[in-house]
Amino acid sequence: MAEATDKQSRASTPLIVVDNLKTHFKVPAGDVKAVDGVSFELELGKTLGIVGESGSGKSVLSRSVMGLNVASNVQVTGSVKYNGRELIGLRTKEIKKLWGVEMAMVFQDPMTSLNPVVKVGRQMTEHVRKHLGLNKKEARTLAVDLLRSVHIPEPDKRFENYPHQMSGGMRQRVCIAIALACGPEVLFADEPTTALDVTVQHQILNLLAEQQRERNMTMIMVTHDLGVVAGRADEIAVMYAGKIVEKASAKGLFANMRHPYTQALLRSIPKTSQAKHSRLQAISGRPPDLINPPAGCKFAPRCPYAQEQCHEEEPELNEVGTSGHRYACHIPVGSNASDEAFAKNLEAELPQALAYAGRIAAVEDLSVLGLSN
């Protein structure tokens, strides 16, 4: 009971508060600004979906929050408060005490995140025995129960299996069971279903949702697929070039997209509800170089709405209205200003605007677009 009231009282204050988090990797060519000033809050029991393309910094962000980026060339600054406790600057020895017990992660590739020469049973009991101080027999009972709870048939037998004896979906279930073993408060799922088939993906996502409900867990789900988080996350943050460009409740985001990147991302995805041969609205260009990112808005060079201001002045992630919808854009879509800006860019024959309007084909190399016109 005491624990229940404790959880209730904490529900009003955010469990995780991230403030101006930056993760830079030092490489010979300069600093790769993989995460460049990200702030968000997450309440207990909620799911945050972080969406972005490769190189947007979504995985690095989740790893930085958990303190997994520990190489010598990594520079993490800013603040991550977990339950009021500052995690940035903690020694690895201290932060290791949180892993598994408070925070756990499910990785993308279930083929490589398990040790191929160790039976899954031992991989499951190893950290349980260390963190929870169970003996061998107790740990085994717990592990078999966990295998059962992630719906693996014949858990007693599977306990003795090596990873190669299982299918990809089964292995991801084992990885989830391992992550859940010490009863973490927060589960990070980094592209948990990207390597899996669509029917298996559906089952794994359902399993994660079920476990989250049962354990009142907080979850951060990182994915490149808007479809994966649309119906399953409470809030969605869209990342581009190391920054959150838009963040809102899932329903709020889809009903009222304000950032041109979010809109373009959704429009570029083929959907089963569209007729065949529907022309996709592709985004021209490619994500910026994170060592020398462009001045101003990072999306401006690809944005069909961009104006002078966008290339000079970086927009901030501001909350607009009271619904908690935030976006970082000078000319948010769905406004008169954006309509005018788009018309103006079309008139000026700006290649990305022409491509967005479907008048020319979108390409990665914007200089080619310039030539053909």
Partner: protein, 335 residues
């Protein structure tokens, strides 16, 4: 699923490729064999795009390769313009291959990292094309331009200097320089980010019109397949379950497996209710020893005794829609 039969094959002059009873088996230890593809039949009309969709291990890539005779299939016929490729002498087959090109999944590893783009794209021409280097370059540069790569700056660059999407464009240019009739695209966009994926899908649509191409598009992403295909074939464990015109298939799936696939697709729309029941999951049946009768019966909600005893044959639902199932979700007329 999993049926056989050829009722869905068309007998018109426009058919460019006809595959009949294609079987591909690979030897496995202990005298067993992996039954990767077990008697599938389909055809593609000239100028048409056929999508092949299914989960990993269903044999869709093996089918694509068997059409190119890489390796030659264990059984069945592959007819390109009424010429049976499986019986051609090696020299004739080699000449015939210029009509069929392939685009692979991983754009970076499918280009030789030590050669310049100009050489990579010109390679097929060095064997079959005009002899003069200048004439070859003229073809190569027009092709690079067609796929949205600047020929002058790309000519002496190497693959590592390009992004995945750019490399895929270069692979497409390489496939196009022979002016093939048929292009087999094996998961050409699954390694790409969504914004680049849209560019490549649009590009393939444009090139198809421009060069009068016929495509076999193999992919696991149902939305991608629908977007690009005129017709779609659904595969499961080496068999073809259902084939139909695309819009019809997605609106009215007749095979329980097709329906399961479609229900599993995560739609980017938060207002759609998700069926969140968690089921215990068994392993996919082994292709070494596939289930008797209908191969999907072990996972099928509608399976009856008959499904284990008798293999379903392709039956006609409408002019464009065929299904191999004893208990399809849509009534088969006249039965």
């Amino acid at each position: 699923m999993a049926g056989s039969g050829t009722a869905h094959l068309r007998e018109t002059a426009e058919v460019l490729l006809q595959v009949e009873g294609l079987v591909v088996e690979f030897p496995a230890p202990g005298g067993e064999s992996v039954k990767a593809v077990s008697g599938i039949s389909f055809d593609i009309a000239r100028g048409e795009t056929l999508g092949l969709v299914g989960e990993s291990g269903c044999g869709k890539s093996t089918t694509g390769r068997a059409i190119l005779q890489l390796p030659p299939p264990t059984g069945g016929r592959v007819q390109l313009e009424s010429v049976d490729l499986t019986t051609l002498a090696p020299d004739n087959l080699r000449a015939r291959r210029t009509d069929m090109q392939m685009i692979f999944q991983d754009p970076i590893s499918s280009l030789n990292p030590r050669r310049a783009i100009g050489e990579i794209v010109a390679e097929p021409l060095a064997v079959w094309g005009p002899e003069g280097k200048d004439e070859q370059w003229a073809i190569v540069s027009s092709m690079l331009e067609a796929v949205g790569v600047d020929p002058a700056s790309a000519r002496y660059k190497h693959p590592h200097e390009f992004s995945g999407g750019q490399c895929q464009r270069i692979s497409i240019a390489r496939a196009l320089v022979m002016q093939p009739q048929l292009i087999i695209c094996d998961e050409p966009v699954s390694a790409l980010d969504v914004s680049v994926q849209a560019q490549i899908l649009n590009l393939l649509e444009d090139l198809k019109v421009q060069y009068g191409l016929t495509l076999l598009f193999i992919a696991h992403d149902l939305a991608v397949v629908k977007n690009i295909s005129d017709r779609v074939g659904v595969m499961y464990l080496g068999k073809l379950c259902e084939t139909s015109e695309s819009d019809e298939l997605y609106a009215r799936p007749a095979h329980p497996y097709t329906a399961l696939l479609l229900e599993s697709v995560p739609e980017p729309d938060p207002t759609i209710e998700i069926d969140e029941t968690v089921v215990e999951m068994g392993e996919l049946p082994s292709p070494l020893d596939p289930p008797s009768g209908c191969r999907f019966r072990t996972r099928c909600l509608y399976a009856q005794d008959r499904c284990a005893e008798e293999e379903p044959q392709m039956r006609k639902i409408s002019e464009e829609h065929y299904v191999a199932c004893h208990f399809p979700l849509i009534d088969v007329p006249g039965q």
